[in-house]
């Protein structure tokens, strides 16, 4: 099973929910930190025995001597990553999405496969949790292929917890697609609610069953709860705004370690997800 943890707004507590959920459920658990632009779950889970591999994307390399300037590669590329300019074929490797269309379409075999580094994929272990995360190369602008590389480690018979990036754009879609259930983490503020609505639209469009987790539930106002009621969205869990939680967080300590009574609440969250999926 795959549970993805996402949010419209950043900083609502995705990683807090995802890491504490992973730490509270026994058995075969895999943690996949797909916030590859700024992964931070490792700060709380402290994985050991890390193995690192480089993830790359296939990009075109043109042999100008074999090229007859037919322009098919230029027409097929939707991202202007390859262009025929006069008597020369130019490539813009940083704009390539790695579809290999140009290589397949080239009638003279002038385009071969080269590669661009996207970043690193690291694997490790944290207690009973198998840990995976992506670290995007500084300067790289395209995160979905690296997110997909992290998600290749989803295991069918495990509980896979996907920590998604914030927002509702391509990286989020790459992280949450194929999830069995989506937890949308929000805070009861006008910003939190505004971005929650965007995230709800995304989840509905993608037909992923979802529920809301309200973090720092006793700040702000009641509008998030009212919205959930109106829209018939289950509130899966509420976490109070407690100084002890913030202190533990700022020291890189899991909430369920600092406040052991929270473990049951996260176990209940997991049971709640299973109930929703029945």
């Amino acid at each position: 099973m795959v549970i993805a943890v996402a949010s419209g707004k950043g900083g609502t507590g995705k990683t807090t929910i995802a890491t504490n959920l992973a730490a509270s459920v026994d058995g075969n658990v895999r943690y996949l930190d797909c916030d590859v632009e700024e992964p931070n779950a490792h700060i709380f889970l402290k994985p050991t025995d890390l193995e690192s591999e480089t993830v790359t994307l296939p990009i075109p390399e043109v042999d100008q001597t074999k090229c007859d300037l037919c322009g098919i590669c230029d027409q097929i590329c939707q991202f202007s990553a390859i262009a025929v300019m006069g008597e020369y074929v130019m490539t813009f490797p940083e704009m390539c999405h790695g579809c290999k269309g140009c290589m397949m379409a080239c009638p003279t075999g002038a385009i071969s496969e080269s590669s661009r580094e996207l970043g690193k994929l690291e694997k490790g272990r944290s207690g009973h949790i198998e840990f995976f995360h992506g670290q995007m190369r500084v300067g790289e602008a395209m995160s979905p292929p690296l997110i997909e590389a992290v998600k290749e480690h989803v295991q069918a018979n495990a509980l896979n917890i996907v920590d998604a990036p914030p927002g509702t754009s391509c990286p989020v879609i790459a992280a949450i697609k194929d999830a069995d259930f989506l937890l949308l983490v929000t805070e009861p503020t006008p910003f939190g609610l505004n971005d929650l609505k965007l995230a709800v639209e995304t989840a509905r469009l993608m037909k992923i069953p979802f529920g809301i987790v309200i973090n720092r539930a006793d700040v702000g106002d009641n509008r998030t709860v009212e919205y959930a009621k109106e829209e018939n969205i289950p509130i899966m869990m509420e976490i109070p705004d407690k100084r002890d939680i913030a202190v533990a967080y700022s020291n890189g300590i899991l909430m369920v370690e600092a406040l052991p009574e929270m473990r049951e609440k996260f176990q209940a969250l997991y049971q709640n997800v299973l109930e929703q999926l029945k």
Binding site: S80, A83, M85, G86, Y88, F92, M95
Partner: protein
């Protein structure tokens, strides 16, 4: 010779559009006769990426010698440089005045590098 100017409108009285890739129009002018044509660039306005490359291709296809514009990013610059088109940046004001300034030699500082970063993604 012909020059291209990025323009916010379809004629010589329009203001220069400071953007290259996402300029509204390209005015292609023969500075000697002041004969011109306007090429619409609206198809590039909504592109998430590659507007500079596409606009560069339009300019290369219009067989001009010089481009006058406000700003030029790295990929557009590379395209124009490869095709041997020289670029003058920091143009602003009316298209007509730019042509006059180019003719009088007031605008003659050819850019050696792009002056802005790409703004894709």
């Amino acid at each position: 010779m012909k020059i291209a100017i990025t323009s916010s409108g379809k004629d010589l009285n329009a203001e220069v559009d400071p953007r290259f890739g996402r300029a509204a129009y390209f005015i292609i002018v023969d500075p000697d006769t002041m004969e011109y044509e306007a090429i619409e660039n609206t198809q590039n306005m909504g592109l998430p990426q590659g507007a500079g490359v596409q606009a560069g291709k339009t300019i290369v296809g219009s067989q001009v010698d010089v481009l006058l514009t406000g700003n030029c990013g790295p990929k557009a610059f590379k395209v124009l440089e490869t095709a041997g088109i020289r670029v003058i940046i920091n143009a602003n004001g009316k298209v007509k005045d730019m042509v006059e300034q180019f003719k009088s030699g007031e605008l003659s500082d050819y850019a050696k590098n792009p002056n802005v970063n790409g703004h894709w993604m």
